[in-house]
Symmetry: C2
């Protein structure tokens, strides 16, 4: 809550739109939505997005080039994200599974590489689309 105060004008406007959407938004669709509020250029949107990602307020769904609000207070500043994506209805949901995140946080391979961050995207059929 205190942190929201530190957001700038553009950042607030754009976070607000992303939070109110019930689906990931594309940068240019955000741009279209905020033009009435005086944000005219792509770069203004991309800059706000970049900052919001750094703050962990939003995530980028990489395989969709879309941006979604973080529903998980435990994302640890955008370091660890997992999504489920329905290939039929395109619905994207942030997965919040303690076991999964613990498993991945502790994962290390043979090479000895240090992992600071990950992004996981599952694709499949959601329960609604499964039925039909």
């Amino acid at each position: 809550m205190a942190q929201i105060q530190t957001l700038s004008k553009n950042q607030k406007i754009i976070l607000d739109i992303i939070e109110k959407a019930n689906e990931p938004l594309k940068a240019y669709s955000i741009l279209f939505n905020v033009q009435k509020k005086g944000i005219k250029a792509p770069l203004q949107v991309y800059r706000a997005l970049e900052k919001l990602i750094k703050l962990g307020k939003i995530h980028k769904v990489e395989s969709r080039n879309a941006f979604v609000a973080c529903k998980n207070s435990n994302c640890e500043i955008s370091k660890a994200t997992a999504f489920s994506i329905c290939e039929t209805c395109k619905k994207v949901t942030e997965i919040s599974d303690q076991k999964l995140s613990k498993y991945l946080k502790n994962f290390h391979d043979k090479t000895g590489m240090i992992y600071k961050k990950y992004n996981l995207e599952f694709y499949g059929l959601c329960t609604t689309c499964k039925r039909s």
Copy 2:
């Protein structure tokens, strides 16, 4: 081996370049590389890439918009991919870890969604960059 025979001319050319590269290649850098071989348009490259992905010969590294040859005979036709990405030197390696892939293949969340596919990207520091 038998399968490689069924690849078309463009598909072979493009797979060959991706396999010989020791890093993920961007579509337009592939395009640049094959122009001497008569492939002139982006669409020719993208079409071949799409097919090669379907066949599991290559993968797309989503967060990089780049394409890399599959080093894993057990990717099951591109259904399950995991990469490690060094944020310093940008090196991308396909992770081949039985336990990890088994864990993710069997993962299911509360929603009951069926997962047919996933893509996981770890970001961090590789051993070489760690030292310096």
